[in-house]
């Protein structure tokens, strides 16, 4: 009974976080527009807020920081709250900086990071939109966003994410939200703000 109640609360929280969600009638129109926008993304920087909703906690676990991306696959996640922590993925290498310690390893040896890396770069550059081999898709909208739900076909990925949902702004066509939904009903939502596209990013950022 308690778990049903918690599931209802989680679902309600999910709806409140995402606004009124309805089926998108004309997905081809929007995909074309999003593709036109994302194919020109050479670099991106943004602030992010990450919320993790867990069934057994009353409040979400919140993290905040800054994000940088440069094509083809350079990424920097800089967590600034509640702790300082940096993850850099650069040309196949994964560097983690934490409390003065630095650890570099081959990205391919860390399946979880590698999978996350391809998901994030794929969503920024719009490559996921055309990836029919690995994902089936469903389309929704809210008042201000196009939501594209990616359902993994890979059984391993499906075992820990039953779907991901990317929210594109209807106005700017930029990625504003990334939702990772787990089979248990728990989910992680990332909100991106202060997005700056195609501005020169120093190579030092990815070192």
């Amino acid at each position: 009974m308690r778990s049903i109640f918690i599931s209802m609360i989680l679902s309600l929280s999910s709806i409140l976080l995402m606004g009124q969600v309805v089926i998108l009638d004309n997905p081809d129109f929007w995909i074309k527009k999003i593709n036109e926008k994302t194919q020109d993304v050479a670099s991106l920087q943004a602030d992010f807020e990450q919320q993790k909703l867990l069934s057994f906690l009353e409040e979400p676990v919140v993290s905040k920081g800054k994000f940088w991306f440069h094509e083809p696959n350079q990424i920097r996640w800089e967590y600034q709250y509640p702790y300082l922590y940096t993850i850099i993925m650069n040309n196949g290498l994964l560097t983690v900086k934490d409390e003065g310690n630095e650890h570099t390893s081959d990205l391919s040896s860390n399946q979880i990071f590698e999978q996350m890396n391809s998901l994030i770069t794929g969503s920024i550059q719009g490559k996921l939109l055309s990836d029919d081999e690995h994902y089936s898709k469903k389309y929704f909208q809210t008042e201000g966003r196009i939501l594209i739900r990616f359902i993994p076909k890979d059984m391993q990925l499906l075992s820990y994410l039953d779907y991901m949902e990317i929210g594109f702004s209807k106005n700017t066509l930029e990625v504003e939200t990334l939702l990772m939904h787990e089979p248990s009903g728990d989910f992680t939502k990332m909100n991106f703000s202060n997005i700056i596209m195609n501005q020169t990013i120093s190579e030092d950022v990815f070192q």
């Binding site: 867990l54 057994f56 993290s63 922590y85 983690v96 390893s105 979880i112 391993q156 787990e182």
Partner: protein
């Protein structure tokens, strides 16, 4: 016949003595057992008023490096422990009851092997409350207290657990927990090698 009976009795006594001696926890040889003065060995984890504790977490296991957060939540019935990556992906979710039983609610497919599940669960169990029972051995050594409970040896000083060792059987040391001065917790399992470091997060809530 009488001789045989004496020999048999002597042999039985020797076997009994050896048997009883070998049943004693090996690490505590030479120490005198005492009566525990407490009911519960307090958890190493620093819970807040809501029964929650959040830790930064680094795990190195099976050529995988995972960093993220470990959340401990106490309820009336159990302690729930969840580990997730920095990106929020759930890695592990275990419920522990007061009597040391555990239930794996979730484990990421990469780690879903029986010995891995058991390793994570038993290592985390070393950090939680332990109910003193008739199977708990208590010893005093200089200014330290030693508790042997569920194949784990707890070293306490001034009522605070500073080190825990986990054994398989009576002798084989499997894992060790060390408390650092910074309140960080290091867990080292030897075989298979698993290393976990936990650092308390003070300001996790907005």
């Amino acid at each position: 016949m009488s001789f045989n009976k004496k020999v048999f009795t002597a042999w039985l006594l020797i076997v009994l003595v050896i048997g009883l001696y070998s049943c004693a926890p090996s690490p505590l040889k030479g120490l005198e057992k005492q009566t525990p003065s407490i009911d519960v060995l307090q958890s190493i984890i620093h819970f807040d008023n809501n029964g929650q504790a959040n830790y930064r977490c680094h795990v190195e296991a099976f050529d995988q490096l995972i960093s993220g957060m470990m959340i401990f939540k106490k309820t009336e019935l159990n302690t729930r422990v969840l580990m997730m990556t920095d990106f929020g992906l759930k890695v592990l979710d275990i419920s522990f009851t007061a009597n040391g039983q555990y239930k794996i609610n979730y484990i990421m497919k990469h780690f879903d092997y029986q010995f891995v599940r058991e390793s994570f669960a038993l290592n985390i169990l070393m950090l939680l409350d332990q109910q003193i029972s008739i199977n708990t051995y208590f010893y005093q050594k200089f200014d330290s207290s030693l508790f042997y409970h569920q194949k784990m040896l707890f070293f306490q000083k001034d009522g605070i657990t500073q080190k825990v060792k986990r054994y398989r059987g009576k002798k084989k040391l499997i894992a060790i927990v060390k408390m650092q001065k910074s309140a960080n917790i290091d867990i080292q399992q030897f075989q298979p090698p698993i290393s976990m470091t936990l650092s308390p997060i003070i300001h996790v809530k907005k």
